[in-house]
Amino acid sequence: MLFLRRTLPLIIAFVMGMIGILVFYIPHSGAQALEQELTKWDRIVAAFAMVLGIYSLMRLHWGRVRRQQAGWAYSFLVFVGFTVMFVLAIYNDGQGPLSPQVIDSGPFVWMFDNVQVPADATMFSILAFFIASAAYRTFRARTPEAAILLVSAIIVMIGRVPIGALISDWVPWLSQWLMAVPNLAAKRGILLGVSLGAVATALRIIFGIERSYLGGGEE
């Protein structure tokens, strides 16, 4: 049983990892077809993981409703939103769930356009207030590094609105240059470090050194 619970998953991770690496470097149509097929398999299994995630979310809210915890009515609203949207998705503008999704008309699209899209945009736009508030409280040019950060942020912000060009033609140019040169250099440096770390972590997973994805509990 220990073999099935621990050793077999490690073997599978190793074999699939090695196949994932090799198919990239084999210049043969068969290898490319295998890579495409495996990518599709990965997508299918990941889709089931998404179902698992949504189930966990709904179970959390169902627990609050069942125990009638403080604010349980709000958790009930999650079910209301979920049920309405889910039923409309199954209805699929009269086509049913075993047909390609209707994406240009119907009540599902109406719900998406009038509930999800405005809520999405509003949620993200609220962040403008919080970021500005946080900046007001924390942006203090106490050190040279903090001053550089402050000046850089101000130039980029002013350079991206019409008033920047009114002050001087150099402001939008400088804003663009900051994004395209020093910002790119730092991002590239960070990306190189992160990529090396990602490759090292992936190798640790393939060779069974990193096993946290197996979860804890009984071996």
Partner: protein, 244 residues
Amino acid sequence: MSRDQIFFIVFLFIFATINIYLFGSGSLSADWSGLGTFIAAGITLSLYSFLYKDNPLFKFAENLYVGVAAAYTITQVWYNVLWVDVVDPLSELGSDESLGNLWLIVPTLLGFFMLTQLSSAKFSWLSRIAFAFVVGLGAGLAIPRTIAANLLAQIQPTMGPITADLAGFNLFIILVGVVTVLVYFFYSVEHTGPVGVASKIGIWFLMISFGASFGYTIMARLSLLIGRVGFLLEDWLVLPLPLF
């Protein structure tokens, strides 16, 4: 009656009054389009009410949004992955040319293995096989792609020839920035002497980058804010102002 309750009732009263006027005057059409604008405006204002403080209006809109978004996610998983890649191909297995689709049973079975995570400990170990498949394959596919796209493709333009013009100057700055940022993140050597100087320059580059990213993010969020305010003024209140 508390201040919050008064705020809540006054908001609902004003919102209802405005909408009665808008529907009555014909500014909002009495059809699905008008109803959609009405609901979108209600959700937008409810979510913005958080700027006053956490309140029932915000929680109402927030939880409704979570439910709708969860159902939308499931829908996209079904129609874009499970139906297209699994159900539809497997339902055509009767024909000879679709025998290649038989292989799709393997990832489907692995997917169901993943769902055993919800069952008792007797079966939940099966989910480890599915996780091992996804994580192992993901790691394997990620290594060559990361090396090609994030390492080699980033190093190559950094090492270009430096010419005596603006492009060459920019390239020189990028080279200095990349090297000094890497030196800053290299903790195996004490940051003193020349390494300390390089590390310090690396910090300056990082600060410029963080500041630029911050400014860029703020402007992106402000664009969204302008979009929502534009929706409220033009689409909902139908104000005859050429604001946006």
